[in-house]
């Protein structure tokens, strides 16, 4: 049987000729991602670490991003414990606060490469499918076990083929596309499955693909996957990773799929995910006029240069409406610097926006921009669950950077095609 991306990748990684969906295989991931949760993970195995050590100091990638800079003594101690662990076991890939959001950093540093297998103790690990990496989320205990043994089991997923046709019509963005797909598939439509993107993917930049792959888990997917093409190779060239250092894997053209879907990109319109589920997706026309107290552009979904640049273009010397506040969260220090060089940050500051350090910011409700009861926030993040931004009596709407910017200018959810 002709294999899909995931069947091929997992066969390679488990040393088998071929595998079938449902089969359980033992794999040794190329990397294990952890973030601020590295301290709770390593504290589960303190004595075992002393006895056996870390299986390889090149396996872990640790990025401090969730609560940075530390918001309290407790979170400061958490970071302190992680730095101690890193020093003690000479962990090679450690990125301290300010470097960026873990998922951006993994790809930017050339660690998430085509054909690699990465497991991460974070659900949005599926992001690296944007560059043809098999990547999926696991829990803290499994991460602890991997630190000791370097191996775990994976069930070979069934695969879904998404065929994309045509081109998006700006300011319609990849965020609108993936929200549209999730609204169609629903929050559990791809549960346990691998989601592959085929068709006219060339019209989607690496950043677009990142946004789409990132949100795979919001329809339940185990992983997302894009083919490796010239755009991918160019991207890696620009960050100094030569094509000799990775080996792309892709599905056979006659692979068998559990489900096949087709989307016409030219028909996608701006959409908004209403509270409190990501699949509660409606056309922008149904959201227009809803007041917003806070507008957030950033996170691992939409904090890249194209996102910030799209937002700055819409602002064009105008001010954020006095009834709302605009928070900007670059996904990494590298992106922050590029945005500074291009004058994008200047235009945000002049518009009255607040720039947050490159990290997760208010996305998980732990600090920096938490909401009050009755408040509404429009955000480019990937989740709008009740309580997500720190308050169960607040509402979160998800949209593209363009829609969030248009809304910041008016104080109400606005169609970027009308404000631009």
């Amino acid at each position: 049987m002709a294999p899909t991306f995931s069947e091929k990748a997992l066969a390679q990684k488990s040393g088998k000729e071929s595998v079938v969906p449902g089969q359980i295989v033992t794999v040794k991931p190329d990397h294990l991602l952890m973030h601020d949760n590295a301290a709770p993970i390593t504290s589960k195995i303190t004595s075992e670490l002393d006895e056996y050590g870390v299986v390889s100091n090149e396996l872990p990638i640790i990025v401090l991003d969730h609560v940075i800079p530390a918001a309290s003594e407790k979170t400061a101690i958490n970071h302190q414990k992680i730095r101690e662990f890193v020093n003690k076991f000479k962990i090679k890939n450690f990125f301290d606060i300010g470097e960026g959001i873990c998922h951006q950093v993994v790809v930017e540093k050339g660690l998430g490469l085509p054909g690699k297998l990465i497991l991460g103790s974070d659900s949005h690990t599926c992001s690296y499918g944007a560059v043809g990496c098999f990547a999926t989320g696991i829990d803290r205990t499994e991460a602890a076990s991997l630190l000791l043994t370097g191996e775990t089991w994976l069930k070979v997923p069934q695969s879904i083929r998404m065929t994309l046709k045509g081109k998006l019509k700006p300011p319609v963005a990849s965020k609108d596309l993936i929200l549209h797909i999730i609204g169609d598939m629903r929050a559990d439509g791809a549960t346990y499955c691998s989601v592959e993107y085929h068709g006219d993917v060339k019209s989607l930049s690496i950043e677009d693909r990142f946004t789409i792959a990132n949100m795979g888990v919001e329809m339940g997917a185990k992983n997302s996957a894009f083919p490796v093409d010239d755009l991918t190779k160019n991207y890696f060239d620009t960050i100094g990773v030569s094509s000799d250092s990775y080996k792309p894997v892709w599905a056979d053209s006659d692979a068998q799929y559990f489900l096949e879907k087709e989307y016409d990109l030219s028909e996608i319109e701006p959409v908004v995910a209403f509270p409190h589920t990501v699949d509660n997706v409606k056309n922008i026309s149904e959201a227009k006029g809803i007041y917003v107290n806070q507008c957030l552009i950033g996170t691992c979904t939409n904090g890249r240069l194209e996102d910030l640049s799209a937002a700055a273009k819409i602002l064009e010397g105008r001010k954020v409406d006095s009834s709302t506040r605009l928070l900007i969260l670059p996904a990494s220090s590298k992106i922050y610097q590029e945005a500074l060089d291009k004058g994008i940050i200047k235009s945000f500051v002049e518009a009255g926006a607040v720039i947050l350090p490159p990290g997760c910011g208010p996305c998980l409700g732990a600090h920096q921009g938490a909401l009050a009861p009755g408040e509404k926030c429009i955000s480019t993040a990937n989740r709008n669950f009740k309580g997500r931004m720190g308050c169960k009596d607040a509402e979160i709407y998800l949209a593209s950077p363009a829609t969030v910017t248009a809304s910041a200018l008016t104080g109400f959810i606005s169609d970027p095609r009308e404000v631009a």
Partner: protein, 161 residues
């Protein structure tokens, strides 16, 4: 024994709010916040041996182990749902929390039926209706039998030594 019934897409923020993720780490810190934004009575009234029934996609959202640790510590006998999100499912295997994926059993429970569960036989009774669930695959069973993934890993490391 009480049955706690919830709907579809009970996500990890409802099971354990993200704002506590880096401030509550011990089981005693976790327990009072369990299901806080979903059902404020749960943490106060839950008893050992209780069962949770839920709809589709239980545990969707973040990789968040605290709800699994909390439910296990409270002595929840099983979570029966129409379906589970995969990271939650894996986390439950790793802690030895019993999850039963059975949409028919969930639909059969309307709120008043007597519920009983025999894990050995793989049988769940909801009123007069009997539902069976398959045994775990051997790879997963080995983890459960060791008492969770870390115990399994520690045992394996000792054997290799």
């Amino acid at each position: 024994m009480k049955v706690w019934k919830y709907g579809d897409s009970i996500n990890t923020d409802m099971l354990f709010p993200g704002k506590y993720c880096y401030t509550c780490s011990t089981i005693d810190e976790i327990k009072p916040h369990l299901l806080e934004d979903l059902d404020a009575n749960f943490a106060k009234e839950v008893k050992e041996g209780d069962i949770i029934f839920a709809g589709r996609n239980f545990g969707c959202g973040s990789s968040r182990e605290q709800p699994v640790l909390g439910l296990k510590a409270f002595g929840i006998k099983a979570v029966v749902a129409e379906s589970f999100a995969r990271i939650f499912y894996r986390a439950a295997i790793n802690q030895g929390l019993v999850l039963i994926e059975n949409p028919e059993a969930v639909k059969a429970y309307t709120g008043s039926e007597e519920v009983s569960l025999d894990l050995e036989k793989g049988e769940l009774f909801v009123g007069d209706n009997k539902f069976t669930f398959p045994p775990l695959p051997p790879e997963i069973k080995a983890i459960a039998e060791a008492g969770g993934l870390l115990e399994y890993t520690k045992k394996k490391l000792k054997e290799q030594k």
